[in-house]
Amino acid sequence: MSLHAQHSKTSTSVWHFLRSDPRLWAGAVAVAAVVLLAIAGPWLAPHDPSAFVGRLYLRPNATSWLGTDVLGRDVLSRLLAGGRLFLIQGLAAATFGVLAGVLLGILLGVTKGRTAAFLLFCSDSVMVIPQILLVLLILAAFGSAPLTLTIAVALAQVAYTARVIFAATGRVTTEDYYRAARAVGMGTGSLVLREVLPNVAPAVLVEYGVRLSISFVALASLSYLGFGSGDVDWGAMIHENQGGIALQPWAVVAPVLVLAAFLLGMNLLRDAVARALAARSAR
């Protein structure tokens, strides 16, 4: 079997690989369903999510299919309304965090020297502090507005992304094609844009998937811990209604299920993509 044939066959196979992966499809369906729910939710909601539709902690009934919450609001409507901001925040936090981390990681990776080594050491040291503590510190300093929350979650992850991308950049800078580019006299900017970025892109993609999951988990956890922005979201619903779990389990179980489906779906999706990328780069 000639090498030529082997390569041309596998080059287009990321999609081929993905198509045949049932876990990808399970994940994609779960994520798509939750995202759709979050986007269309506010229009689908049978009630105003903050309106009182009955006594508090009513079990599911004809008017409120999932029952009412601690204030007598419709659980289903709140469930439908609670996803949009959450998803936007998670997306924004992961995007911002990964952008910053990629930038830092690549810069540290291509600029060797004492400053870079020192910054990397600081960045590594930050990772000794559990992320939740980092986020809490930032929130304590700047409050819990949706934007602050997003930035806090993003910042807490920069060091991790920087580490991963630093390593990926290191792999590129020890490759001969990088040396070749240096030898023709490419400047640092071109080296980053033309040699490093395209080749760390798969690592960035995988890292982005990881960071998305972690951002969503962090945001939900913060809401649950009572550091949320005060707007309705799934973590906050669990927080509010946990006390009534014996009276009206649906007020807790419903957001837990949606969160779980979403996060599990994200995981499946991410792993499938990572596997496909790994399979491609392995050839």
């Binding site: 903050s50 009182f52 006594r55 508090l56 204030l71 304590a140 819990s144 550091f227």
Partner: protein, 533 residues
Amino acid sequence: METASATGSNETGASRARPFRLLSRLTALAAAAALLTACSTGPAATGSSPVTAESSSPAGPTVLRVGVVSLSDADALDPAKATTTGGYIASRQLFDTLTEYGTDGSWKPQLAASVTPGTTADKWTVTLNAAKWSDGKPVTAADVVATVKRWFAKKLPPAGSLPFIDPNKVTATDDKTVQFTLKYPTVTFPEALTSPTMAIVPADFDPAKPIGSGPFVLASNDPGVQLSFTANADYFGGAPAASELEVKSFPDSASAASALTAGQIDVDASLDPSLVDTVKTAEGYQVFDYATSGSLTWVMNTKQKPFDDPAVRQALRLAVDRQQLIDQVYNGYGTLGNDVFNPFDPMYNSGLAQRTYDPEAAKKLLTDAGYTLPVKVELVGTNNQPTSERQNQALVQQAKAAGFDVEYKFVDSATFYGDAYGTYPLSLSYWGFLGIFDQAAFTVTKTAPYNSSHWVNPEFDKLYNEAITTVEDTKRKELVAGMQQIEYDSGAYIVPLFLSTVVGLSDKVTGAQAYPNSDGAFGYNFRILGLKG
């Protein structure tokens, strides 16, 4: 004023304890109308009927486990420094105050056998019950004098709350009698001494080893986790029914409620009204509730737009559906409020028409005053009470129909009581358990230190000044009615409802009684509770 800084420090310090305890300091500062009739001697034993009157004499040690939300690291064992739930609880168990608010909401002597005025209200004689310190020594008049002098010498919070006391004119005339000569006549002197911060301590008091005369003796203190006590068998009021008392901390009322029904505690001292059914439906548990004078009051800042306009304030008052608040937020536990304070005060103006939800009238007020709807308002809140957030969220919803666009901003309690405190256009404060005069002195009059509404009404102040010097009941009641009418018509507070204290109890717990004018379950008088079986 000296008080301000002292209390201020505790205010921020106390913020670790979730419920913010401004009100109790206000109670401590009580200095107002004389309730001459209340100057009686002997315990006022009439109160709302206890849940179970059966008194038992248990053979073995009975451990009463009480859950509260929540103890904190800031809980002080020096009663004069108490600012938190834990501090008050410790004070009530370990010490006695000279007077206390009883089960009917009026004051009665406690450690004192009697508190009687002289011919004028600036001279008061206090005689003491035959109480003993936990180290066996008798409680003497000298201890009382030393306690008072200690407040002033160390500038402790009670000193600021009792501006009428001249520490140099407090004398022990014999072992059991203390003479107070006040700086000026103060008819509310007995009420002023009800605060747990004013507990009497021994002359050689050491907070590290708190020796007191109270119904319990401290067994151990694990800050923020648990306070443990053993019964004081020699308590002058009779040994408490439980031989041991454990006060356990819970971070929120939900966990306390589940701990109750899981059998981990016998008393849930801060049952969230929304969770009442978890207790009611649990076999062997019940709910004990009573109305109080406490309230979560919305403060409209008259220095900020749009609340500088009385029309807006009235409109917002009409935009509050009080009954719905009671139903949705408080699960039916609460009594309607009418934007004036303390229905348990005999001077309370019950002639005012009950204000009801009228979004149309509110909108009309706003449009007539030239506003375009909706009127944007910022509401800043924190979780100073477990229900605060929900009450605020409900307002956002209710006021929407009345032409208000209330933007609710949640901040943590440290931020809430931080630099910006007092500048919020609209906020929610936990107040109450104060007589009308005390409340006015501290939150309503022009000079009131906690008047964060910055509302000033010369006519109100004039009526107040006149009433406070009026000894005659009916005349004074008339003046108070006038004061409350002004507040009702143009004030800056929205008192939507009065809170009920809701306590979850194991069926085994006996002796529960209402303390409508005291903060906390049973005013934290856990000595009244027993356990059967």
